[in-house]
Point group: C2
Chain length 362, copies 2
DNA sequence: AAGCCGACTGTAAACGATTACATAAAACCT
DNA sequence: AGGTTTTATGTAATCGTTTACAGTCGGCTT
């Protein structure tokens, strides 16, 4: 039915080995022979069977991309960064959406193993995600945005969101706010905790009291933000809220809806700082503060780390920490400068890529 | 090195055939034997090699998902719909991002062929995308959001955006607007053209003059919207613009930025209708009109069509047309009802799924 | 001229599963 | 009891490549 290497060999009057060599181009083949083979392949419309090749070679040119939520713009940008690297190096991506569910994650980890992918890129649902089997098999694992157990030999790419959160809250304090709230993601998610930590640190350093009731763990989506904001504005046992740190842009939509419904003006009645510079945040007037996370860059770095590990296996695990940035304060209070295109157009800046060794392999 | 079916067979003291049967569970195996096999597999940590299985079975439980832009929220939702179906039926997804580039698309089509995927879901960059080879091979192809050449035997899922565009412009006319502009996507993209068609139809039916200068073909992103809006508001040879139909939410961000920069209030100074109900659109006051496209549903329907075709091949190609909806006009002019959660939370409504046969196979 | 080397090419054994076919044992029927 | 089906399992070929190993052949060295 389908054209195989054997058919090509027959037509070109060579052996299958030669045909294979022409395409894999590892060993020398006489130019004239190569030409004949190529011509035969073209004539027959031969397409090599990747499955057979991978079976023989014991690994497929495929990476498993295991991410929490393909609808999250942050992860979408990460995906894009990975895809660009993978594509340029001839790797394909197996897309695995875990929905933050450990069971789906486990199932996909197993699938990655079954497919004999040559590497796994993951945003784990928890630090104890079951990647051990993959590592035992010698499969490179890169964890992104969230760390895995310290004793595992996996490369890690993180964004220092704790520091960014602290800087953001610092600024809120400097501006004179005292009742500052924090709406973050689910307890179980690493970055959610980090952002709270930064929040705590800033308050602590400024010697301000810490009201637990001002910290809200919510689902990392619009509805989560909505519910948390309602609770925050209703439950006034710590007095009225003056500012809110929101841990991602999807939650920010929910939060801003609640403010609008209650006739509270963002930035004026309640100051808002939000993680992720979603394009639409540039529309609000007065502008709210956004914390830029280098998502595309994160993906690219992860891809590069994986490439390096595939090339030279066995080296110690590395951790790359990227910076989230809080743009300089806007002095023009009401109307941000009409500078043509907003900075959000510079979508894919060049990464300041400097892997540094951090921990020895286990 | 790795554990194979042979190792399991040896430990369980059966043949490899029996082990295979236990896992594929096609033929009967004595319960006691099955138990022994499973135990042996567990003990050895056996993971079946999907590559070998696929090679033998001549097809892998994988779908190729070839989409234009993974960062486009619309396509992201489509992806999600597909992923849910695929995952529940045991298929994995090969993620292919074409970036609207025909060369990347062609390359990925070839990769899909090499991987011997069992189906292809695609948002083609043009009606003449080279899917012929796949079809010749008997591979099911489902095209989404954009049609392929009429003579090809592919299932199609579309959204009737022409009708939605017409309805939207109708409404703008009813409200008394005359200088209505349209910012759409690149000429080459089907949906971009459809939306202009709807726009034209509405003007034509109302007997209004059609100014070509009010139609702008832009890139389907923020920057595209920005540039188009600038041109539209500068180039006033048709007089000041009263309303704009914007063909997707990413462009809308750019458009709204320009309005803000020029101190023009959306909905009041310039009325805006935008395709795609991105969550953030609910934040604007007064609210702008949004056209809801059933993206998640589109993905689900595409997945189901593919499933059906895999089960019963050879049936004639089908086309499913989904409706984009323009919510009923909001009578409360300035402040939309604070009804708790906005409707945008109902993210994944049940589809009104009714495939209808439309064209015979080629 | 014999020996050696390098460049090409072919033969055939993997890779790890599935499955057509064969066979043995058990169950059923009359 | 003898024949016939059914059930459970084994044997071995097969999927389409890659690749170790073994030639072959001409040119070069001594």
């Amino acid at each position: 039915m389908t054209i195989t290497i054997r058919d090509v060999a027959r037509l070109a009057e060579v052996s299958t080995a030669t045909v294979s060599r022409v395409f894999a181009s590892d060993t020398a083949v006489r130019p004239e022979t190569a030409r004949r083979v190529r011509e035969a392949a073209r004539q027959l419309g031969y397409v090599p069977n990747t499955l057979a090749r991978s079976l023989r070679q014991q690994s497929s040119a495929t990476w498993a991309l295991i991410i929490a939520d393909i609808e999250n713009p942050f992860l979408t940008q990460v995906t894009r960064g990975i895809e660009d690297i993978a594509q340029s190096e001839g790797y394909s991506l197996l897309l695995c959406n875990t929905d933050e569910r450990p069971d789906k994650e486990a199932s996909y980890l197993s699938i990655a193993e079954q497919f004999r992918v040559s590497g796994v890129l993951i945003t784990p649902t928890s630090p104890t995600s079951p990647v051990d089997r993959l590592l035992a098999r010698g499969l490179p694992v890169i964890t992104m945005d969230r760390p895995l157990r310290q004793d595992l030999a996996v490369d890690t790419v993180l964004i220092d969101s704790r520091r960014a959160a602290r800087a953001a809250v610092d600024r809120l304090i400097t501006r004179g706010h005292r009742r500052i709230a924090c709406i973050t993601g689910p307890r179980r998610v690493f970055t959610a905790g980090e952002r709270v930590l930064g929040y705590r640190e800033a308050l602590h350093e400024a010697g301000l009291p810490l009201h637990e009731s001002l910290i809200r763990y919510a689902d990392f989506n619009e509805q989560g933000g909505h519910l948390a904001a309602v609770e925050l504005l209703d439950g006034t046992d710590a007095g009225p809220v003056e500012a809110i740190l929101v841990a991602n842009s999807m939650m920010a939509v929910g939060v801003l809806q609640v403010l609008r419904d209650r006739q509270l003006r963002p930035s004026i009645d309640v100051e808002i700082v939000v993680f992720d510079d979603a394009p639409w945040t540039s529309l609000l007037t007065p502008a709210i503060s956004v914390i830029h996370q280098p998502a595309y860059e994160l993906g690219q770095v992860a891809g590069k780390l994986l490439l390096e590990r595939l090339q030279t296996p066995g080296q110690p695990a590395r951790t790359v920490m990227l910076n989230a940035t809080l743009p300089a304060e806007n002095t023009d209070e009401d109307h941000p400068p009409a500078d043509g295109l907003a900075s959000s157009h510079l979508r894919h800046p060049k990464p300041d890529f400097q892997p540094r060794r951090s921990r020895a392999r286990s």
